[in-house]
């Protein structure tokens, strides 16, 4: 399993740097992780993941923690406040200037780092990259939706990959930085575990890893809600000197009180996904550090714009003025950033021209204008698991009652809510839903297109929950997708945001805060704006 030659290289690199060992001694001895091994206990407040097959997993809380550590992608995002795309397996970011992006914008040519390799020694070459992308597209398990733009992936030569896309699509490069659908798997491992019915070894990869990342999957026990990662001593990037996290025990605990107690009692080193109250309480405890940041999750109320009376623009605007944004964000959610555009600050962001504030007088005025001077009855559905969303709607209900609007809150099982809302088209969908979504990559285009574009209408596409169809908006989206001129792109985006807020098929509430806490003996941690608290840069961290 260990490639002697490769391993020798990494060992010698560090030994030579330390100026310690004569070359002859470097050959056989493997730096064992058993001597004074550091175990790090990471707890995530969520359920365990169903699958860690990168060609399938699309959920941000569970599998993410594992996949981001055991697999590499061509690019990843780094940065605490904004997202910078950084080449990982790729040598550099392709641009029109360096020839990486063709003039017609249809071809992306990426050169790989020659030293990148899997733990068994096989190289992470163009064949492996092509194989991984083809595999995800062939499996058709949902996350391939993110790769819809790719017409063909080619291995031009050993170190060069070329993506050909169906039409010029300016966000394409950013989309490659998402952890979802962009992990590179080892074709040798897949081949070794493939069967006739399962040529892509999907069954095997559901619970085993085949990546080139800094950690190996030592065990995966979803029935016990836990998994263990071990340091990949043959990591092609090499481990710098100094202490590292040798073993990481990941536990998924769904009761937040329990997870919090574990940190307090010292049974956990890091807990991600805490509530605002928990964070305040933990901040007073010596030895514990609390962290808060905003990631990409956004809450909204979507109205079914094909169903009366929600097809009435003025009514929607009235309802938008009746929501007490600040009380919800500060009081109920305990923090977060109010949305003044379709997305929070990221590539392409700009505030929309129309803004909504909590103004009951204005709401009442618009209500009359819309034709409902005496109020009306409305209904919004929310998932049972969304406790804060439910509280927000209850507050909204009280405020709406004071202007004569009678809101009925329908609490449903989350899956049932989406089934009913998405399966039968607008006529059989729910009147309105409260939910949240997150961009998969930090480009404002993505949410504009999937929330407002007619190609994202359910049931065929995802995720235009408001069933909003407006040819003007579709034209804007197409302009954003196809133009290569950055100024033109931004102008089109601005038009899109303005139209979105003027028509208000969705009321955007806020980007919610992501909260975590850890022992103060942990160092090297950084917040990742795109990945949130469920991800920690384990390879850069140490304990004690």
């Amino acid at each position: 399993m260990l490639d002697h030659g490769l391993h020798r290289r990494t060992f010698l690199k560090s030994a030579a740097a330390a100026g310690l060992l004569p070359l002859g001694l470097g050959a056989a001895h493997r730096v064992s992780a058993q001597e004074s091994e550091t175990t790090f206990r990471f707890v995530s407040i969520s359920g365990p993941p169903d699958t860690i097959d990168p060609g399938e997993n699309w959920e941000g809380a569970g599998g993410f923690t594992i996949i981001a550590q055991v697999y590499d992608g061509l690019f990843r995002f780094e940065g605490a406040e904004t997202a910078e795309i950084v080449p990982i397996l790729a040598r550099e970011v392709p641009t029109p200037e360096n020839g990486g992006i063709s003039e017609d914008g249809l071809q992306y040519t990426i050169t790989l780092k020659p030293e990148a390799a899997f733990p068994d020694g096989s190289p992470v070459n163009a064949e492996a990259v092509k194989f991984s992308y083809d595999r995800t597209q062939a499996l058709k398990l949902g996350v391939d939706f993110l790769l819809d733009q790719i017409a063909e992936t080619e291995a031009v030569d050993e170190q060069t990959v070329r993506f050909t896309i169906k039409q010029p699509f300016s966000p394409f490069l950013n989309s490659l930085g998402s952890v979802f659908a962009n992990s590179i798997v080892n074709p040798a491992v897949v081949a070794a575990n493939a069967t006739e019915d399962d040529p892509y070894a999907h069954e095997y990869l559901i619970s085993h890893a085949a990546g080139s990342g800094p950690y190996l999957l030592e065990s995966f026990e979803p029935e016990l809600s836990q998994a263990t990662l071990a340091r990949n001593m043959d990591w092609w990037q090499g481990w710098p000197d100094g202490p590292h996290l040798d073993r990481i025990v990941v536990q998924w605990i769904s009761e937040s009180a329990t997870a919090r107690l574990m940190l307090e009692q010292g049974d956990a080193d890091f807990v991600a996904g805490l509530s605002a109250e928990a964070l305040t309480a933990l901040a007073t405890i010596p030895g514990i550090v609390t962290m808060e940041g905003t990631a990409l999750g956004q809450t909204f109320i979507a109205f079914n714009t094909e169903m009366a009376p929600y097809d009435n623009v003025t009514l929607r605007q009235a309802l938008a003025y009746a929501l007490n944004y600040d009380a919800a964000i500060d009081g109920i959610y305990g923090g977060g950033r109010k949305l003044d555009s379709v997305t929070p600050p990221m590539v392409g962001y700009a505030p929309a021209a129309t803004q909504y504030t909590f103004d009951l007088a204005k709401a009442k005025e618009l209500l009359s204008e819309a034709g409902y001077p005496d109020g009306l009855d409305i209904e919004i559905a929310v998932s049972q698991a969304d406790e804060l969303g439910s509280l927000t709607l209850q507050m909204y209900q009280a405020d709406l009652a004071s202007i004569g609007v009678n809101l009925t809150i329908t609490t449903m099982d989350g899956n049932a809510m989406f089934s009913e809302h998405l399966n039968g088209g607008p006529a059989q969908a729910l009147p309105a839903i409260f939910s949240f979504m997150a961009a998969d990559y930090p480009d404002a285009y993505q949410l504009l297109a999937i929330a407002y574009g007619s190609s994202s209408l359910p049931p065929a596409g995802c995720c235009n929950f408001a069933y909003y169809t407006n040819p003007e908006m579709d034209a804007i989206i197409t302009r954003v997708e196809t133009t290569l001129d950055p100024d033109e792109r931004q102008a089109a985006l601005q038009e899109g945001f303005d139209l979105a807020f003027a028509d208000e098929p969705l009321i955007w509430l806020h980007v919610f805060a992501d909260r975590a806490a850890m022992k103060d003996t942990v160092s090297g941690w950084e917040f990742n704006y795109v990945n949130g608290m469920a991800y920690a840069p384990f390879a850069k961290m140490s304990l004690g």
Binding site: S256, A257, R260, L261, S275, E277, A278, T280, A281, N324, A327, A328, G331, I332, Q384, E387, S390, L391, Q394, M395, Q397, A398, D399, I409, T411, M412, D413, A416
Partner: protein
Amino acid sequence: MSLSIHASVTRSALALPATAGGLAWLRAGIVWLPLVILLVVTVAGRALAPYDPDAVLVTDRLQPPSLMHPMGTDPLGRDVLSRVMTGARNTVPNVFFILISALTIGVLMGVVAGYAGGKIDTVLMRITDVFLAFPALVLALAIVGMLGANVRNAIIAIIIVWWPWYARLVRGQVLSIKNELYVDAARSLGCPAHRILLHHVLPNSMAPVGVQALLDIGAALLTTAALGYLGVGAQPPSSEWGAMLAQGRQFFLDAWWLTGFPGLAIFVTVLIFNGAGERLRAKTLSGWSRI
């Protein structure tokens, strides 16, 4: 916990050594007075509550118990005491409804099975066997899970799970009565079956079942609350006690009063009903000594 077991504990716990006769009124008061208070709160809770139970005031959220708010406030600033008081109206009548429905269905089935005998009896008893094969909460959970999580379905689920117990009980009674002399006499006089059932069999088999039902009120409340706690019963913004427990769950480490007081309300109510049921049983059935 299952019904008859519950009853036996209550009975034996309350059947403590008798105190002197002079304090009998005090003993009675301990049981009946709380019941009266409970019923008053159930009916008039909203009028008696100090605050509007639905008044949202987010700035006042999660206040610990104080003079202003003896039971604290919830995450939306609503007064917990007021919600507990109005919650009685959403909780207690449900329990009565469950028992009356389960009793009605159970008695009907049991009487028919017991009196008709033969094939009808066998079929009906097989059906009850199927339902009795499950621990109550497990089946109720499965049923609500299938039908959809709300208070109406939770009530339906518990009724479905409980009627077999009563059917069995009644059938047993009917079997022992139907060969009694007076029934025989009525039959030989040419009395039609349905009259025999209505006037002779039914009244005599109802008594133990009725008492059993009274003692089961507590258990019914606990089951309803359990479903609420699991999130498959009443849904927010309802002030039903189980729903309040479910909402308070995520805050229980920092705001213990959100689960503490509804939990206490459930506890006290169960105690009151158990006590009252036991007293009633003691008064009405002097000879009834078996489980």
